[in-house]
């Protein structure tokens, strides 16, 4: 456990950069609202390992009504109050942490694949699982 997956961050950065570049040309990216882009930025920070994807998929099996990227994006944007535009990375992170903490404080949690996680964490996992 001492050693994180060493190449994960590098890969993540490369992936984010690549998706940013490629995304510029992609239709959905062009038309995505700022909140979508903010949420996708946030989801990009979640380690996209097979296990995280599995947790995300397991969550969606229990919450099939959320099993769409737009739905999850809308829910996350609402819960994280992703307005106004121009939220910095730090602010985005702060809000996500605060929301996760309040989820726990409100017992807004589920046990998925054994993990006792907040609703927001699970939605981010689910979104990560839905990303191409």
């Amino acid at each position: 456990m001492d050693k994180p997956l060493l190449d994960r961050r590098a890969l993540l950065k490369m992936g984010l950069a690549a998706s940013g570049v490629l995304g510029v040309g992609a239709t959905w990216w062009h038309h995505a609202s700022m909140e979508n882009r903010l949420v996708l930025r946030l989801a990009g920070w979640v380690a996209r390992s097979e296990d995280v994807t599995t947790i995300g998929q397991a969550y969606l099996e229990r919450q099939p009504e959320e099993a769409h990227r737009d739905t999850l994006t809308r829910l996350l944007a609402r819960d994280l109050s992703l307005f106004p535009y121009g939220v910095s990375d730090d602010e985005l992170r702060q809000r996500s942490r605060a929301k996760i903490a309040s989820d726990f404080a409100d017992a807004n949690t589920l046990t998925v694949q054994g993990w006792i996680l907040s609703r927001t964490e699970l939605r981010l996992c689910a979104l990560a699982a839905l990303l191409p």
């Binding site: 456990m1 994180p4 997956l5 599995t54 996500s96 942490r97 726990f104 694949q113 993990w115 006792i116």
Partner: protein, 495 residues
């Protein structure tokens, strides 16, 4: 002095006090009362060392919620020789919590006839006997010099076990008893019957036999049954000469309410930032060991049983699933912080030791099979209820919420919904079979540990626990034995 029962050349041994069983309880009573001016006869079935033929007298059928049919539990979970199960105990010591003594509306049949304060001074005496420092009431709150994983809150608190060396009672106290002029220790002396008077209100004598056939009686003014949570019930049940259902069993309570401490070695896992929890405080290798416990308020709010969660850092590296999720949590939880606290950089297993709720259907009875002495063997049906495992599962879930809420980690639930009992075992703690209550309709012994309706018969040991908390029983067994010795001293003086 030490006497081999086979060498006894009289038909009747007379004494002021007859103690049956030389384990933690019996040795404590004898040690506390030596030099008090009374003749004490201490009867031990075994010898000074382990012997398979004596140990086999413990054999019997056992099954239940987490025991397979014909489990060897009865012969393997205790030791039948001088010193009893203190010859193999691990040394975990902690008093019961005050809540354990109280009647809790959400725990049927819970509560002792007195509060913890009644036992406090006896816990001090017991601590000296098992070679640990005294516990004081503020200790759990004062141990914050170490960094706990969970800071004390309305939800969870950190408590401490003190670790006895562990004290081997026979080694530590045996010689003093052997040298005592007022104590006679009979080895190889098996009690085969406790005989009451015609009215069944007093004990006249106990019948003793050896494996090789020598027989004699012991007649005393007082008798203490101290043979452990299974045998105490067994000896009362086989002593049916006057009371057909067994001594002290008019209300069909002897043998019922058998309790263990459910142990779940893989109750879950915790990921946390490296350096957050002081590993030494949670280690089993120090003089103390910290455990995480649901607070009284949390138990009340969620109708939980008492329990403790031990962090096991000496675990194999985590499986990939734990690593990957830990990495995910690291990303989410460290976001926006000025200083990194990698939430997923350390992990530990969770070992839960919990309370079992008193259950009338969990019981020791007599089997039809007989042992080498011709005595009916014990049969144990150790039955737990869904509430027992649900309490553990829910406690782990609430720990996960607490860790997430405080940003100090995340927990993984180890109790499986479809097979919740998987991995649950006992701690070899046998309790409840002669439970204490001031009402004879609800208990076998009163608050002085005297069998209801039998004036000179007392029971020592964890069989008298009406509720058992999560703490290992030895310290409370010894405290109760010191208390009983005090009581007997007064009784014997008064005649």
């Amino acid at each position: 002095m030490l006497v081999r029962a086979n060498d006894v050349d009289t038909q009747t041994v007379r004494s002021d006090l007859c103690i049956i069983g030389a384990g933690a309880a019996g040795l404590t009573v004898a040690h506390t009362l030596r030099r008090s001016g009374f003749d004490i006869c201490l009867l031990e079935s075994g010898d000074l060392t382990y012997a398979p033929d004596i140990q086999q007298l413990y054999g019997g059928a056992a099954d239940g919620t987490v025991l397979p049919p014909n489990s060897p539990y009865l012969s393997q979970s205790r030791l039948r020789y001088f010193g009893g199960s203190t010859n193999h105990w691990a040394g975990y010591c902690r008093p019961l919590d005050d809540l354990d003594f109280r009647t809790r509306p959400w725990v049927p049949n819970s509560g002792w006839p007195y509060r913890k304060a009644t036992l406090s001074k006896y816990y001090d005496g017991a601590a000296a006997i098992v070679q640990i420092p005294s516990f004081d009431e503020g200790e759990d709150a004062q141990r914050q010099h170490t960094e706990p994983l969970v800071r004390d809150s309305d939800a969870f608190v950190t408590k401490q076990f003190h670790m006895s060396p562990p004290t081997r009672f026979a080694e530590r106290y045996g010689q003093a008893l052997a040298d005592a002029s007022d104590v006679s220790v009979y080895l190889g002396a098996n009690v085969v019957c406790i005989e009451a008077n015609e009215a069944g209100t007093r004990i006249d004598r106990v019948r003793v036999a050896t494996l090789s056939g020598r027989r004699f009686d012991v007649e005393s003014r007082r008798y203490v049954l101290a043979t452990g949570g299974i045998e105490n019930a067994r000896l009362l049940l086989i002593s049916d000469g006057v009371h057909r259902a067994g001594l002290g069993n008019d209300r069909d309570l002897v043998g019922r309410y058998f309790m263990e401490h459910p142990h779940v070695r893989n109750a879950g896992a915790v990921v946390m930032p490296r350096g957050l929890a002081d590993r030494a405080a949670y280690s089993r290798r120090g003089p103390r060991r910290a455990v995480i416990c649901p607070s009284e308020a949390l138990q009340r709010k969620h109708r939980l049983l008492n329990s403790s969660i031990m962090l096991e850092f000496d675990m194999p590296p985590p499986p990939p699933a734990v690593r990957h999720v830990a990495n995910m949590l690291r990303d989410l939880d460290t976001l926006g912080r000025n200083q990194r606290r990698d939430i997923g950089s350390a992990w530990s297993g969770c070992f839960v030791r919990a309370e079992q709720s008193p259950n009338r259907e969990s019981r020791v009875t007599l089997a039809s099979e007989r042992d080498a002495m011709g005595i009916r063997r014990s049969r144990l049906e150790w039955k737990m209820t869904p509430a027992d495992i649900e309490s553990i599962r829910r406690t782990m879930e609430l720990l996960g919420i607490e860790l997430g809420s405080s940003g100090r980690g995340r927990a993984r639930q180890g109790i499986q919904a479809l097979s919740p009992w998987e991995g649950v075992e006992g701690g070899d703690h046998h309790m409840g079979t002669t439970r204490m209550s001031d009402s004879p309709t609800e208990g076998v012994v009163n608050s002085d540990c005297q069998v209801h309706g039998v004036a000179n018969l007392y029971v020592a040991g964890s069989s008298v626990f009406p509720t058992a908390g999560f703490a290992n029983p030895t310290l409370t067994i010894v405290a109760l034995a010191v208390k009983l010795a005090d009581h007997l001293r007064d009784e014997l003086r008064d005649g």
